[in-house]
């Protein structure tokens, strides 16, 4: 039996975009309407297109999955008429590794190593949301020591900076400002060097854990953070000269990939994409977690909903994050970096040498894990890409019964067909880049 026959045998059908001759007008209308939310009149007009004569002039091409501008393994099927994009369908799953299924087989302590690899550009935010969901199920979310909360906020904001710096680098590269690629990675590396000093790893830290953090900040951390804060502002000004105020850059991005506020909300997008349409929605301010309600910072919004707004929002969010980090430096309290709750906290290293009970406790917690009371909870926080959420169902055992991550990139990427429709194929790259998808987060 050939592969094609085999596929036809399954009831699900192909995932690809079908040529117009194979789909009826109604299906075409729904397919485009699936992301468009167009008016009835507009949709009806589309349904009456002279399908056959059109078909001669359009072609369906594949972009990706292996393409430098697709940020990994994103595949887009584009229907083109000349250079105009008529339809677009993102096809994903090339990086799917079943992490939600894996998560059901890992204890709550091991779970961090799994979720941190999903959105690999903001690993600390993944760990944070996972830890917060577990703490909510345990009912200890209000007992986390002050210092741990402030440390979490510090790391989360630094992570936002590193993620946005990487976006600026790849955005520049995609549009053709190749030197930006080097500058952005250079600055991001400074932040990652700090992460390495604190957590031991540049990425995939597993540092924020249920109950607190894995370790305290190392000596001299304050100077390291100050060094980053002093180094960045002049560099960001260089970016402004290189990109923001440069006519070619503006020409390339302004008016490209436009989306309106109501469309962005109907599609469920969040983060810079939603804010670029003028909706001031930032979970840090609107549904505060950690200590964000005590922080002084601005929520950056755009007004046109185009690729330039999304670029400018991220650039300025780096500045806002720096503001927050400075406030954290001023107010970082002394104290414990993890909760002293025997249930979730392993005993200190020194105790293990002295006490048999501590040794057993340590062994039990790392082999068996701790039990989490039955129930379900959803926690959502603001990651650099939008709302990252963690939904955990516990059956009372030491492993989650079901763990689901609400991935911001997965939802945001579904706005691509809408942003691209009617645009030029050359702008497709700018649009993908402005959504800033992380394919590890999309496919999980």
């Amino acid at each position: 039996m050939t592969a094609v026959e085999n596929i036809r045998q399954t009831s699900e059908g192909g995932q690809e975009m079908k040529p117009r001759s194979e789909i009826g007008a109604r299906e075409l209308m729904r397919e485009v309407g699936a992301v468009l939310r167009m008016s009835e009149a507009e949709a009806a007009k589309l349904g009456q297109l002279p399908v056959d004569s059109d078909e001669d002039q359009t072609m369906i091409i594949n972009m990706g999955p292996q393409h430098p501008s697709t940020h990994g393994v994103l595949r887009l099927m584009l229907e083109l008429q000349g250079e105009t994009v008529l339809r677009c369908k993102p096809i994903i799953g090339y990086l799917h590794t079943g992490m939600e299924k894996t998560g059901e087989d890992l204890t709550y302590l091991q779970g961090g190593t799994n979720v941190t690899r999903m959105d690999y550009l903001s690993p600390l935010n993944n760990e944070l949301v996972f830890s917060m969901a577990v703490e909510k199920l345990l009912g200890i979310e209000d007992d986390i020591p002050e210092r741990a909360v402030w440390m979490r906020m510090l790391l989360s904001e630094l992570n936002r900076m590193s993620s946005h710096l990487l976006f600026l680098a790849t955005n520049g590269m995609d549009i053709g400002a190749v030197s930006m690629m080097l500058y952005g990675w250079r600055e991001r590396e400074e932040v990652l060097r700090f992460f390495q000093k604190v957590t031991g790893l540049r990425m995939n830290h597993n540092f924020i854990r249920p109950g607190g953090l894995a370790a305290d900040l190392p000596p001299g951390w304050r100077d390291d953070v100050l060094e980053i804060l002093d180094m960045l502002p002049p560099r960001l000004e260089e970016y402004d000269i290189l990109m923001t105020n440069q006519p070619i850059w503006r020409e390339r991005l302004q008016g490209v990939g436009v989306i309106t506020a109501s469309e962005a909300m109907a599609l469920g997008t969040s983060g810079p994409i939603l804010r670029s349409t003028g909706v001031p929605w930032d979970l840090r301010r609107d549904m505060p977690y950690l200590k964000y309600d005590q922080m002084e910072f601005d929520v950056i919004v755009g007004s046109y909903g185009d690729a330039f707004d999304r670029y400018a929002i991220r650039l300025n969010e780096v500045r806002e994050s720096m503001k927050i980090v400075r406030q954290i430096l001023d107010r970082m309290p002394a104290g414990d970096y993890r909760i002293q709750n025997k249930k979730v906290t392993p005993p200190p290293r020194g105790r293990i040498d002295e006490s048999m009970e501590a040794l057993i406790h340590h062994f039990k917690i790392f082999t068996e894990g701790f039990k989490v009371p039955e129930g379900e909870a959803y926690v959502g926080i603001e990651s650099p890409r939008g709302e990252i959420g963690c939904y955990i169902v516990s059956d009372g055992g030491p492993k989650p019964y079901r763990i689901h991550m609400r991935a911001p990139s997965f939802v945001n990427i579904q706005a691509l067909p809408h942003m691209m429709r009617g645009g030029l194929v050359a702008d497709a790259v700018a649009v993908i880049s402005s959504v800033d998808p992380v394919l590890g987060d999309v496919d999980r």
């Binding site: 596929i7 192909g14 699936a34 894996t102 199920l137 909300m265 109907a266 909706v279 959803y378 609400r406």
Partner: protein, 159 residues
Amino acid sequence: MTEVESLHGAPVSWSRGQKVVHPGRSAYVALLKKLLDDGFTMCTDLTAVDYLTHPGRDLPDGVAAERFEVVVNLISIASRERLRVRVQVPESDPTIASAFDLWPGTEAMEREAFDMFGIRFDGHPDLTRILMPEDWEGHPLRKDYAVGRIPVQFKGANS
């Protein structure tokens, strides 16, 4: 016994301080429509849970537990509120109406739930697999789908 709280005729429960509504399967889309009119303009998340090996869970009176559960997370930007909707879906007939007409953004999420759990969404414009290959057999996040069980993955390919 206290009176059961309800919202638009569906029982409400509180889980760790979070508000959860439990509509019946037939009232599901009608309830979502009312919630949308109430200001829940964003559907942030839609997923499913397979309760095959954990049948006895807390549900409000009048809600019969079934094998599958579709979980929808909504956000109201105006009132800065979250709301969760949990619907029971029986194993014998795993279908439920699609929320696509209310929030087109649920298109991909429903496809993911279909791909992973085999729950069919009536009225969905393009219900195909999204993460797994299209000739994959079975639905991986079901509890009776074992971890590490590797069937012949890409049939028809010359090995």
